[in-house]
Symmetry: C2
Subunit: 369 residues, 2 copies
């Protein structure tokens, strides 16, 4: 195998695919990147078996072939190449076996692994194909994935439900303490589809999707394939039934507070800092007199904040895990937010005025019902 390509395109390709690189794998080949030269381009592919990313860059190919290079090291080298052309020549057999990277003034030889040992990316069969603007997809991911669970004991909760119905695509994530549900318009042909995509896959996907252009998702029974420009990501889907989330979201409320996102985010940032210091991580809210009074405390002191609100309905005292509220107000978007409560042991619903997104957070029981 031998080819010449542009060093900047090479390092950008490696930055993309290395997101799927297994960090410490029992299979050494998974710490590698598969490079394959054919036709007028070279593809690079990394996978941790749960998901994989492949990208193609143009190259002048003198000899076709494929090889596996040590992924992390090859990426670090590509980041440090001088601008311009770089040649990569691979000898697979004999005492000169290795990949030689040549650029003006430098030559690096890396040991190689056998391409035959590298697992192929799964083919997504019987897929339904949906196309979304990149920006929509990124927003859906950013506004929901943070609420998925990190606890592998209930795998389904580590995923984000993608659901298509009635002219909209919906993402839902929940971890048993909070829920995030976001919609975007969808005018394609696919209807009534559901799939649960690992949140970690979506977070890495959001790092690849650009501001412009469309993204195509092929969703099969067990895998999803995503095409972004010259890059393809394939990930397994999570098996099992997602929680019936509609039942969790209360429709009624007895107290409603209309708050400014920035004012709440700032106040929560300060209160959460003291709450963290105290390990309880608790923030208490009292709604009364057109004010939201926020308190937190630790052995080092206590903090008291007042946020002006529009208050409808009954006064209320309620407590939350500070981190959950901080996460929501960081991701909910700028503008006005409507918080709806029933009792101080029932879920709080948060909806930004600017969208149809819905967030839910369970209170911590410190007051009587």
């Amino acid at each position: 195998m031998r080819f010449i390509c542009d060093s900047t395109q090479l390092s950008e390709a490696m930055a993309t695919v290395s997101k799927a690189l297994a960090s410490k794998s029992v299979m050494p080949v998974l710490e590698g990147v598969l490079a394959r030269a054919s036709g007028s381009g070279v593809s690079f592919c990394c996978t941790d078996l749960k998901m994989g990313i492949e990208t193609v860059i143009p190259a002048q190919i003198a000899e076709e072939g494929e090889v596996v290079l040590q992924g992390r090291l090859f990426y670090e080298i590509t980041r440090r190449l001088p601008e311009g052309n770089v040649e990569i020549a691979v000898t697979t057999e004999g005492e000169n076996a290795g990949a030689v990277i040549t650029a003006p003034g430098l030559r690096t030889r890396l040991f190689i692994m056998d391409a035959a040992d590298f697992p192929a990316l799964p083919v997504v069969e019987n897929a339904q194909r949906i196309v979304l603007p990149g920006k929509s997809l990124r927003d859906l991911i950013r506004q929901t994935a943070f609420a998925a669970s990190l606890d592998e004991s209930r795998p389904i909760l580590t995923g984000v439900l993608l659901e298509i119905n009635a002219g909209r695509v919906r993402f839902v994530a929940l971890d048993g303490y909070r829920l995030a549900m976001c919609d975007a318009p969808y005018d394609g042909e696919v209807q009534g589809m559901k799939a649960v995509i690992p949140a970690s896959t979506l977070t890495r996907l959001a790092g690849i999707v650009g501001d412009s252009g469309n993204v195509a998702l092929e969703i099969g029974p067990s895998h999803v394939g995503v095409d972004v420009d010259n890059t393809r990501l394939v990930s397994r889907l999570l098996e099992g039934e997602f929680i019936r989330y509609e039942q969790i979201i209360p429709q009624d409320y007895t107290t409603r507070a209309i708050v400014d996102q920035a004012a709440m985010a700032d106040a929560l940032d300060r209160a959460a800092m003291l709450a963290r210091d105290g390990h309880s991580n608790l923030v208490r809210l009292r709604l009364a007199d057109a004010k939201l009074y926020m308190t937190s405390n630790s052995e080092s002191g206590d903090m008291y904040e007042e946020v002006p609100i529009q208050l409808e309905g009954k006064d209320l005292e309620i407590a939350f895990n500070a981190r959950y509220l901080v996460d929501i107000f960081k991701n909910i978007g700028a503008g006005t937010v409507v918080m709806s409560f029933t009792t101080n042991v029932s879920p709080c619903i948060l909806r930004p005025e600017a969208s149809s997104n819905t967030y839910l957070v369970l209170p911590v029981r410190v007051y009587g019902a």
Copy 2:
């Protein structure tokens, strides 16, 4: 104690003094910041007993007094205050004892410690006073402190020698494997002075000194005091005789290579990466044919670089700890660098063409003498 000050000035003051905050101290009061309101200003002071920093900001003082607040927490709070005025009111006795921080919409109460327990910054007596432009001082620190030792077993090597003689101020640092020596012009009255300042003190000082203005250093027999605008830093000096560094620097050479700093820094960056991967951290140089050939290797591969040079004298093969060369070429400044060698087991001297600075690095013995 009660005062009103500007929240931005307050958080900047805390950013400055918290550089001297002890992270985990056996004396809880050293994790605190001493705040003292008197006259028309409030001073803040942190110390880890080895060094301390005090800074003063203007304030409207309603009641004079002093108190110790938990340093890290108070700093984090000041960073999150809204812009504008903030009031700090301290009650030292009774059940309301504490410091109450009030800004529009928020009120935080922090527990306090007794100011009487806070160690005073040492007074620098019998001092000689030198004044240097801030930029000169910062450059001297940046270009030398990295070469000081981190090993506390020979404390004197963890310091930087400051030496005034013949119209120049000189900083020298060395750790047994490398040396950095930098001069700046000095036209003050003090002459023939020496002091060894802890490198960690200087690194923190460099973070306080701005681009413009002068810095005054008061150097006494056991302590140094530094005044930068409204900030004073006091540090102990290191005791004992500094190494007689002039004897270490060879005057002759048999091989001289003139290299470009940027080309060498780039090549070393790449070679050091592979050297790091191989744990030996070794980079080998071969000087011949108007080229510097650089090689490094590990179990993952090997790297070969060519850097164009002007070569005078005999060809040479020599090996170095890659990190030492990387450090020097990162700090030596842009432009042309002259590297002088005698044998491959003798020190290499590096001098930038643009200054009178001198760097020395010992080779690693891998070739015969």
